[in-house]
Symmetry: D2
Subunit: 214 residues, 4 copies
């Protein structure tokens, strides 16, 4: 199971969360990554934690003021890029372009999607992983694995039909080790979470609980 | 005169350009700032050069994956934010929102615009500065001060009518000290440039020439 | 006072609302216009009512699939275009471009904005009218003239400072003749409304009440 | 073979092109449709020609000013909707949403895409047809079937792998019956064209030539 902690634009201490994640990953052998703001990638990566960008642009080097250049986030220490999160939906052509930009830079990729049909579409574009996150459950505290287990099962089935098959993560409302176990039982190979860790008083404790079920 | 070097998504060494800019600024007393990719703000700011973000989002702290949070770029060392560059045009409501987000974080602001009418609109929103950059001259090598001096004069006049008046920068095609002088003669209080420095074999030499006319 | 009924994407009978509006306008001499979906402009205009487009693109004739061409809506019978509604926010450069496209086609224009600062920015771009609609009050049933009278007064003051001054409409939560009167008392020269008429059992009755206070 | 004539925002006489298309379709039994501006759907449909919208929004009935509501274009006479044209690229989630909106309204659908990988992604979303149009060939006068036959073959293969298989159209640079034949030989079941008919002195003559090879 892969645990990706998306710090979004939360007012948390990104480095403190990264250190907690690095510690828990080291202690337990679990794969835990942290996705901070682009401006925080360098200090987060310096903690030794696996670091992801929250987005990269489809455009490469050139006259693209205000873009998020894949080689720049890689320079700063990111080794992966989240794409098409429900808070940063992309055009189909730009998901394809951003995947190629990430791939050319050696970044791992996850493409998020709302439902199994969009998961299938995302999977055909060749990301390393896809993630299904029903927008209405994000930040809800109710895990997708309990609120809508079929959406996870159907997403896994949809991604399996693509050749080669693409691993599916799930997200929205994940806060505990039980939720992670439930996600694994449904066929998912990882979880995306955000506020459950970023807003926790003790992120390390939450992360230990999260990976306890793996 | 304020010289803002926009590194866009160019394949340059951002830290090397920043060091050159810091050296020339120290030696000459000229105000020179560098605007790198968000992921490069921290190492650029560590050179001591005045560092700007190429964009900040209108949204504040919260669930905004892939945004460019004003407090995050400020944490990393930015003290200013460029907004509405012709390669990153914003909705009117978002220029307003991004200005408020930047202001709340203590960032200086420049709002770019295509023509004097849009400069006036931008100036009414209360940025620290505005910039006029005719899109067709960006990267052309022909300075706006020569290709279209009236657009600079008219932009200065438009910004002067706003109360309080807003200083005007100009950009597009600026590559030499003569161009900077010509811009000053037209009433502009600074210049935006990009490829002329970012793609130069010797950025320090170009910067010394640029500020020679100030 | 100008009353603009925005039919949005409501499931109403656009022609029936248009006929009611045409009847009330004829009977009372009030200026009432209806803004339907682009595909309904022709049958709405055929009722004789003043007909507006809900949006026009900044691009003119050319390779712009899926655009809303100003000359096409004019052909179909529209004589005005609403721009930058809070449900269709535009880039600053595109408000300018759409205004020029509308002007070249002889369409009247209203640019909407969220707050007095954005109203001032919109007014400098030279529309025929501006409108202030606090997004949080749209569809609320609480008229802006009661919920936030200062926003209307401040918008009128902001538009008056532009030379030439630009008339201000207000919208959000308007449902009765009393609301229209209150808007006029605050200096506004018209109102935008939508669900209050579009979802009414008897649009003609609502429109008669609305214009009763003019 | 299906021939879809996209009138974009060209300054042509939409009704005259529609009449020519209706005549040629009647005379030859070929399936020819015309996609005009939304505001021209009603008069185009009244010629009896098969009429398509150039775009429909993913949002349904409701507070969506400036949207292109699927039921509104259907009311006006459209029986199909083009989606994700390279001049109107959509977010993945909105292609899915627009397909559902079109389907609920009984509209046929074509989703355009740049390359075979995106064609496969589009096909998984369940449109009636997909179309591959390399953006660099649009309006070029060089038919995709000659400039890049492999892109058409690969797109057909990609769409065939989806279950149920989805017919592929191709577009860009198509101007003659020979081009249509070449497209059919590559496995495509139709063509999209625009300027070749819309800008022709005699659209009927061009259409007769186009369908001569079917």
């Amino acid at each position: 199971m892969f645990v990706l902690v998306n710090l979004k634009a939360y007012p948390c201490d990104a480095v403190a969360v990264a250190e907690a994640a690095a510690t828990v990953a080291d202690d337990t052998g679990a794969r835990i990554a942290v996705a901070p703001q682009a401006a925080h990638i360098e200090p987060v990566a310096e903690t030794g934690v696996e670091t992801w960008a929250q987005h990269v642009s489809s455009s490469g080097h050139g006259s693209h003021t205000g873009s998020t250049l894949a080689p720049a986030v890689a320079d700063a220490g990111a080794t992966g890029a989240l794409l098409n999160h429900s808070e940063r939906r992309l055009k189909l052509a730009d998901i394809d372009g951003s995947l190629r930009a990430a791939e050319d830079t050696g970044l791992d990729t996850i493409v998020c999607a709302n439902n199994p049909r969009q998961v299938a579409a995302a999977a055909t574009l060749g990301p390393d992983m896809v993630a299904v996150e029903p927008p209405e459950l994000i930040g809800s505290g109710t895990p997708v694995s309990r609120a809508d287990p079929d959406i996870v099962r159907d997403a896994v089935a949809a991604a399996d039909e693509v050749n080669p098959p693409v691993p599916v993560l799930c997200g929205a409302g994940i806060t505990s080790g039980d939720d992670v176990e439930a996600a694994a039982d449904l066929g998912s190979e990882g979880v995306l979470l955000a506020s459950g860790v970023a807003k926790a008083d003790d992120p390390e404790e939450v992360l230990r609980d999260l990976v306890s079920g793996i």
